[in-house]
Amino acid sequence: MADSGAGNPGDPRRRKALQEMARFGGGAAVAATMLTGFGVSSRAKPAQTLRPPGALPEKQFLSACVRCGLCVRDCPYDTLNLSDWADGPAVGTPFFVARNVPCEMCDNIPCVKACPTGALDHSLTDIAKAKMGVAVITSRETCLNLQGLRCDVCYRVCPAIDKAITLETSHNARTARHAIFEPVVHAEYCTGCGKCEKSCVLNDAAIKVLPIEIAALKQDEHYLRGWEEKKKSGAPLVDAPLKLPVRKPDAGGAP
């Protein structure tokens, strides 16, 4: 095969090769565009989707989880499900519905151990540090404790009782004789296991676990908390307390 004109722009072989390449590129581009659009659109996570303990942030999770279901298989309480097309979360990925079966917060975290890819982060070894979501009183109008009744169920079932949920008392203005025991969730300790949501006695739970990105937003950086800054710098932020004039009728300072 003599290579007399293969490099020549007019050479039919070269033209054919270029056409092939263009077609290949075009075909790949069409396929890629369609799939990308689909991929990006299905990256949205429904507001109620809870991932297993140790799950990477959603975007990394979707590039890591191979949808094998090994975590689902190794969960002893059948908490986890694989998402089907109609379920909402990206198809084939694990999730759980706290109101159906919450996470029992196993000490040895078998779901994380089973994950072959690290989509569930293997550095999570203390289940109390899990952040599957965070519980929020979503209905102050119906929560029995907030109505001045004593229910306390969510508080009592919480595996991190008195840390993740506390009961804060306040005066019951309606009866004027009783106290209100308000369940208050502390995001720092809440693992998002969902036992509180599961056990809420109302038909529609007044406490719900929401994904972190929805429930617990980051503190705005431009608001500084004086007491924290004080702790950080080890000294008061202003040199001395401000001196204000004393406003008393007999002090004579004020008009």
């Binding site: 191979v66 949808r67 084939g92 089973a114 994950c115 890819t117 690290g118």
Partner: protein, 313 residues
């Protein structure tokens, strides 16, 4: 040329039932065993293989991972943990020995679906087929990896009907099986061997491994070929046969070199002249063909027409 609607009839008459259905039976057994390994746990509580074809753990010691999914994960910029890397290496290694697309014919749950469509096609005499170029699936491979990179998620796994079907079977997520139905309709009415032969990027990817793998089908006995064309009628990738079967004059090796071959053995079953064998790529018993008369390259050797005197009774 119309395809023979009953290509196995002659082989059965000449070689007997077993020799003409051997590979089909073995493949069905293999496919069912793979499924049984995964189903013994959920059905009977005996956990042999956990997970799905995407990633599995057998008896708690043997991890297996799909290399194409691994690649998508890399494209989406996640470097998997050790177990997934080991599992991928084991699968890659086995298919380097066993022929990349042997996965397609011996393991993949979609194969019985497309085989059924192909069989029905022959029986119903459906000859219409859309012209889809086989390399379209290579575009898909590139497209899938590009889409994974851009979207940062495993693009193909969002719609992959193979893993969806496997999940459907193993986890009971039935809506995931719709894809299998779509493939069946597509193969039956739109394009002959359309899905596996032209579209599926997983098979295309394994096909690239198959270009160098050790186990191969070869037309060792091609001198005996009487041009009945039955092998072309049953092969899901008929274009792989010609170079090996018709390459005698050009001195082309009788080994089917193309990675597209799924090693399903249908040609071995269907041939009444026992032309084909399964064996290692480098064969000792094959006499070098007449290389002095090399005149045409393999691709130029067109399959000859069915000889008129051999029209099936």
């Amino acid at each position: 040329m119309t395809a023979n609607a009953r290509p196995y009839r002659e082989a059965r008459a000449q070689k007997g039932l077993w020799a003409s259905t051997r590979f089909l039976v073995l493949r069905r057994i293999s496919q069912l065993s793979f499924l049984a390994l995964f189903l013994s746990g959920p059905l009977f509580g005996i956990w042999i293989a956990k997970g799905t074809l995407a990633s599995s753990m057998t008896l708690g010691v043997l991890p297996l991972n799909d290399p194409f999914i691994f690649l998508q994960s890399l494209a989406a910029r996640h470097w998997p943990e050790g177990v997934a890397i080991l599992g991928t290496a084991i699968v890659l290694g086995s298919y380097l020995l066993l022929g990349g697309r042997s996965y397609c014919a011996w393991v993949c749950p979609v194969n019985p679906v497309t085989d059924l469509a192909a069989w029905l096609r022959r029986r119903l005499g459906i000859t219409y087929t859309a012209k889809v170029r086989p390399e379209l699936r290579l575009y898909f491979v590139v497209g899938v990896l590009a889409a994974s990179a851009v979207s940062g998620s495993m693009a193909w796994e969002l719609i992959n009907p193979i893993t969806a079907l496997h999940r459907a079977l193993v986890f009971g997520l039935w809506s995931g099986a719709c894809g299998a139905g779509a493939i069946f309709i597509f193969d039956l009415f739109v394009a002959k061997h359309g899905w596996c032969g032209h579209l599926c990027p997983v098979g295309a990817f394994y096909g690239q491994i198959g270009r160098v793998s050790l186990l191969r089908v070869a037309a060792d006995n091609r001198a005996a070929c009487d041009d009945c064309m039955d092998c072309f009628a049953v092969c899901p990738e008929p274009h792989v046969i010609s170079p090996a079967l018709r390459g005698e004059r050009s001195g082309t090796s009788p080994v089917i070199a193309s990675g597209d071959c799924t090693l399903c053995g249908a040609c071995i079953d269907v041939c009444s002249k026992r032309v084909f064998n399964l064996g290692l790529r480098a064969r000792s018993g094959v006499a070098p063909t007449n290389s002095a008369t090399v005149t045409a390259s393999a691709s130029q050797v067109a399959p000859t027409r069915r000889s008129p005197e051999r029209v099936a009774p």
